[in-house]
């Protein structure tokens, strides 16, 4: 239905306005969103609380209805069709599963909703339990599950129909580091198997570790979108010097150098362009430092996120 280069999820001028009161008050949750998610990639969908991430996901799943604009999933605008629904797995944020059911019963119920039955259903349950490393707990009641185990069962229910697209809302929030790593590893494996993942998250470090592309949403507007290489490339470089003695850092600062770190006898200076680089080398020589190396410095996703939000706030206030 669509080629490998066509986006599997595409929105055009997608807008959502909520009526919030009897007096006809309205809130724009999403403004002209143009989003594209490509096959076999992990797209990190970022934004602070109330920025419109969950609204976007609910629109993609047909849980709420757009005010204007269009949604195309796997080449079709009929997002309610069985074809589309069978190819989307969804893990909501903080999802609830009844305590009285066993892990495999939850999966059986959701599998049945996809029309899976008999041997095919049980084979698939075995596969997803294996994938999320929950085979050992399949017959245990959910009330005996830890938060990490519940999240893994949630992921298993999203995968039960072997969908092409996975939409995950805050998949690692509230989990301990080991559980986070487990989930992260599973998501990377799924991407490598050719699945497309849209991950909404606050966990910037997690997203940076596994995403191919990211989009940052703020106040319902997609502020930036692109690959991590495109967005996080920086002309900043770090100049590393050795032989730093007491008081040398202050001396460098007094002469206009930007010291970003000092470890034992090593001092690290940040420069933004070639002119600053030459000046830093001269400055180092003048205070008796020995040049070790010059390395390009990549901006972190957190820095990009903060910069984008700050810029948006400034634009709004001006």
């Amino acid at each position: 239905m669509n080629s490998n280069h066509d986006p599997v999820i595409k929105t055009e001028n997608l807008t959502k306005v909520y009526d919030t009161g009897f007096r006809g008050e309205q809130v724009s949750a999403l403004k002209n969103l143009n989003l594209e998610v490509y096959p076999s990639e992990i797209f990190g969908y970022l934004g602070p609380n109330g920025s419109g991430k969950t609204t976007t996901i609910k629109l993609l799943l047909g849980l709420i209805f757009p005010t204007s604009g269009s949604i195309q999933i796997m080449g079709t605008t009929d997002i309610y069709s069985a074809y589309v629904k069978k190819n989307i797995g969804y893990l909501p944020e903080g999802s609830y599963y009844p305590d009285f059911l066993r892990g495999e019963e939850i999966l059986r119920f959701y599998g049945q909703l996809y029309g899976l039955t008999g041997k095919e259903l049980y084979k698939r349950i075995d596969e997803v339990l294996e994938l999320v490393n929950m085979t050992h707990a399949r017959r245990r009641m959910l009330k005996g599950y830890s938060k990490g185990m519940r999240q893994r069962i949630g992921l298993a229910q999203a995968l039960i129909s072997n969908p092409q697209i996975l939409i995950l809302d805050e998949p690692t929030t509230g989990l301990d580091p080991i559980a986070r790593k487990d989930i992260r590893d599973i998501l990377s494996r799924l991407r490598d198997e050719g699945k497309t993942l849209l991950i909404s998250s606050h966990e910037l470090l997690e997203v940076e570790m596994i995403s191919n592309r990211v989009g940052i949403l703020y106040e319902g507007i997609l502020r930036v979108s692109g690959t991590l290489e495109e967005l996080l490339t920086s002309k900043d470089r770090i100049v590393e010097f050795a032989n730093a003695k007491n008081g040398v850092v202050q001396e460098i600062k007094d002469k206009g150098g930007e010291v970003v770190d000092q470890v034992n006898d090593k001092v690290y200076l940040k420069v933004r362009n070639d002119e600053e680089l030459y000046n830093a080398i001269e400055l180092g020589k003048s205070v008796g430092l020995q040049l070790i190396k010059i390395t390009p410095r990549r901006e972190t996703l957190e820095e990009l996120f903060v910069n984008v939000i700050d810029l948006a706030k400034k634009e709004r206030s001006s």
Binding site: K58, L61, G62, L63, I64, F65, Y80, A82, K85, K86, I88, Y90, P92, G94, S95, Y96, Y97, P98, F100, L101, F109, Y110, Q112, L113, Y114, G115, Q157, S161
Partner: protein, 280 residues
């Protein structure tokens, strides 16, 4: 044929899930246990009275007491369970977000609603069977006659509950909490049981010639026509006063079944009409 079966399978799985979940609701189980205790207790209590009295008159009173207590218990606890479960199944799923994972699967909204409604009916039928079954056994032990009239009564009571359930369910589909639909369900049941009085109000209106009197008369007339008349389903008087194996009299069972089904279908259509564009 295959696609029809497929479209029924989804609601059936949701119905079974709803039924299993309903069995774990503490309030519902509490009502059921209480009602069974009352029915059991009534039998025990009247056996005790019977030992202290002599003669046919007291035995007759004893039976009437059992029947009165048990029929009233089935009505009261049955309707409480019906309203409670019908008012809460959809709002609870919206609140705990289970609905997100279900509606994101290949399940249409009408299928989801049908499944939930079917699950509610399974719970109501199970409760009626348990309460009616215990009453049936108690009556049979007392009289050594199969109380077939009781079976007809339980059967008609189900259709009475079906109407209240469908209308409460429709209101619950518009609500984000179960409080409002529960109150609405109680209102429907109470007014539905008093529709004969509405007819009286209409008949007596207009006698004073005042405009307010006429308006109240018209409102009563409209409510009398729109609201279901739940009294029609009651065989209580006959159960108390007749032999247990007498056939039901003064009721047209097929018409009552049809009457109940029409209200239930209207309730479900209303529920779907509300829910089809609801943002969850």
């Amino acid at each position: 044929m295959k696609s029809l079966l497929d479209s029924i399978k989804g609601p059936w799985f949701i119905a079974v899930y709803t039924w299993r979940e309903g069995l774990r609701r503490k309030t519902l189980v509490g009502f059921l246990i209480l009602s069974l205790l009352v029915i059991f207790g009534a039998t025990f209590m009247t056996s005790f009275i019977n030992q202290a009295t002599v003669g046919d008159v007291s035995t007759d009173m004893d039976l009437k007491l059992i029947k009165d207590i048990c029929v009233t218990t089935i009505s009261i606890f049955g309707i409480l369970i019906t309203i409670f479960i019908s008012a809460s199944v959809v709002p609870t799923e919206v609140e705990n977000r289970v609905i997100y994972t279900v509606l994101s699967k290949p399940v249409r909204r009408f299928q989801y609603l049908f499944g939930k409604f079917l699950g509610v009916q399974l719970i109501i039928i199970m409760n009626l069977c348990l309460m009616g079954g215990l009453f049936f056994i108690a009556l049979y032990i007392k009289q050594q006659i199969l109380p077939t009239l009781l079976l007809w009564s339980v059967f008609l009571t189900y259709f009475e509950f079906l109407i209240v359930s469908a209308l409460t369910f429709a209101i619950a589909c518009a609500s984000s909490s179960s409080v409002l639909p529960t109150i609405a369900g109680l209102f429907i049941y109470i007014t539905g049981s008093l529709t004969e009085y509405l007819k009286d109000v209409y008949n007596r209106s207009g006698q004073t010639g005042e405009w307010l009197d006429s308006i109240i008369g018209y409102i009563a007339y409209i409510l009398w026509n729109v609201l279901p008349n739940l009294q029609r389903f009651s065989l209580k008087t006959q159960i108390i006063n007749s032999q247990p194996n007498d056939p039901p009299t003064d009721v047209l069972i097929p018409q009552l079944v049809l009457y109940g089904l029409i209200y239930a279908v209207c309730g479900y259509i209303l529920a779907y009409w509300i829910f089809r564009k609801r943002e969850v």
